[in-house]
Point group: C2
Chain length 335, copies 2
């Protein structure tokens, strides 16, 4: 009807106001449902906006309000199979609230971590969901009063979402004891992070109590076992393995197979993380499940609440883990 379309370009608030025969201010109030606008006017503006296909310019809005409705997600390594599900749920949960997510990974480097954070802050993100490399608060000087939610690590300043790793470690150990094993080896993952260290320590503690701890070794977070670990795994000193990370557990299975040992007939194994690979192995890897999906969702919820109420007291949310039985646990061989 009215030939108000402004030649090609995306319509602006001014265009809407003009077309609706109303001031820019009123148009803004109407669209944002604030201020005092008459019912008829409001409806009319909305209708005109819809007709013109008006979409607010978020850059302009951001500049004026100082809020971008974007958040940053900083992860150690996207190709680590643990993270994609987390990222996915963060992105989806954010979208529910009309937030968009800048995703970055830092390849385990502190410099990259800082660079990423700087870039995001400069972009004006309203908050950060941060899975730090280790427990150090390497961004302390950068984040200032920016809302930050920290995942699976310790941090003295920010909201925390963590996992009850102790209970996970215990569950794994207890399951193997219950299966009748009496010589159980423990392989722990990265040792510079409390949440990782503690998984295996809890296992070890339980095993010690039952006098069933064969040995306790470390391995990098990797499919390849270090020689000492590989040797221990295959030398028959343990009939079962409690491993602090699925990826390492899969590596252990691989090593065992290469040396002609069968899982679970000769050696039982329980991992930790429940990464998707585990379900695809044959037999499926028994493991401790971490509710990554829920963590992702809760991370954005918590962060958005913090953005809304910056002064509310700090939160620390701890998620339960569960044991998922698949095919890598059996009674010890010479039963």
């Amino acid at each position: 009807m009215t030939k108000d379309e402004n030649s090609g370009k995306r319509p602006t608030l001014k265009d809407v106001a003009l077309a609706a025969g109303v001031s820019v201010a009123t148009a803004s109030y109407a669209l944002n449902d604030v201020g005092s606008v008459g019912g008829d006017t409001r409806r009319h503006v909305l209708e005109v906006a819809a007709r013109l296909g008006y979409r607010p310019n978020l850059s302009a809005k951001a500049m004026r309000t100082g809020k971008t409705s974007a958040i940053g997600l900083i992860l150690p390594d996207l190709t680590n199979p643990f993270f994609p599900a987390l990222a996915q749920n963060v992105v989806h949960a954010a979208r529910e609230s009309a937030y968009s997510v800048f995703v970055t990974d830092t390849q385990g480097s502190h410099e990259a971590e800082r660079a990423a954070a700087q870039a995001l802050i400069q972009r004006g993100v309203d908050g950060l969901i941060w899975f730090p490399i280790n427990d150090e608060d390497t961004l302390a000087d950068l984040t200032g009063s920016l809302p930050v939610l920290v995942l699976d690590r310790d941090n003295p300043r920010h909201d925390l979402i963590q996992i009850d790793v102790d209970s996970g470690g215990r569950m794994a150990a207890e399951r193997l004891i219950r299966a009748g094993h009496q010589r159980i080896g423990v392989i722990s993952g990265p040792t510079d992070v409390r949440s990782s260290r503690q998984r295996s320590e809890s296992s070890a503690e339980v095993l010690r109590r039952h006098d069933a701890l064969a040995w306790h070794l470390h391995n990098a977070y990797s499919f390849d076992l270090e020689p000492a670990v590989a040797a221990a795994v295959a030398d028959g000193s343990a009939t079962a393995l409690c491993v602090g990370a699925d990826l390492i557990a899969l590596g252990a299975i691989n090593t065992l197979r290469q040396r002609g040992l069968r899982v679970p007939e000769d050696v039982s194994i329980i991992g930790f993380d429940n990464i998707p690979y585990g379900a695809l192995a044959f037999p499926g890897l028994s493991t401790i499940n971490i509710p990554v999906e829920e963590m992702g969702i809760e991370a954005v919820n918590t962060l958005l609440r913090r953005i809304a109420k910056p002064t509310e007291s700090r939160r620390r949310l701890v998620f339960d883990v569960t044991y998922v039985e698949r095919g890598t646990v059996a009674p010890p061989p010479a039963a």
Copy 2:
């Protein structure tokens, strides 16, 4: 020295200009290295900016210039093991050029795809890297003249980065023939996408020429085989399998094992994609490698060039694939 720090808030260009005793315009010119600014002045401004820790407000810049130096990445499914490496490289390559990346996945739904695209466009991204669900140009009406780079699909309007799937399909088939197999089954993945269909068709064609095609079936992109496929895989009608996707190939291995058949002693298998899981299986899955990392990098390069020169002629880049031998190919059993 000079007590010009503006009480807590992030310093603005005005603060820099003030502190440097120069106009805002000059400060802007100096920092962006444009316009005519004296060498001394330029250095001085830079120095002051550094001292104050000035970082431009990107929202303001975006509003003024219409460029956000952000791009969007739209993927079908982040938890599909094929994508994280791609996403990672896109993010890193973008950062090299001071671009940030909004990552979204669409869970295979066309509506989600459109919603994601809309959100990104509204955000004012300078361009899109899009791995569509299928070959339909479902965003045609949304993208307008926005630079878009399409991955692994066909599209009549945008720059394309594709894979030489034909050669991949042929390589796989030829490798199995060369190993001595004469009854080879083909399982193709999703059939509604050319690039996926063609993988298996190329394999089948080669096999037909050698009179070695036992059968050609379809399976959804999934670890679980459909009953008919599972039956064919295990009924001895084929001594080798040419599979259009690693995930399905792993599912086939699993099915074979469950029915007491060994890989590769009884049945040889070659997959397609080279997803990370494959390397972790035992034995490792022989497969066709797609250079996802390079594709990710080249995607942002191509997109950024397109953003810079919107009128340049359309590009179509085709990446070679390679065969990677691991442990799932052997001569046929009754050799």
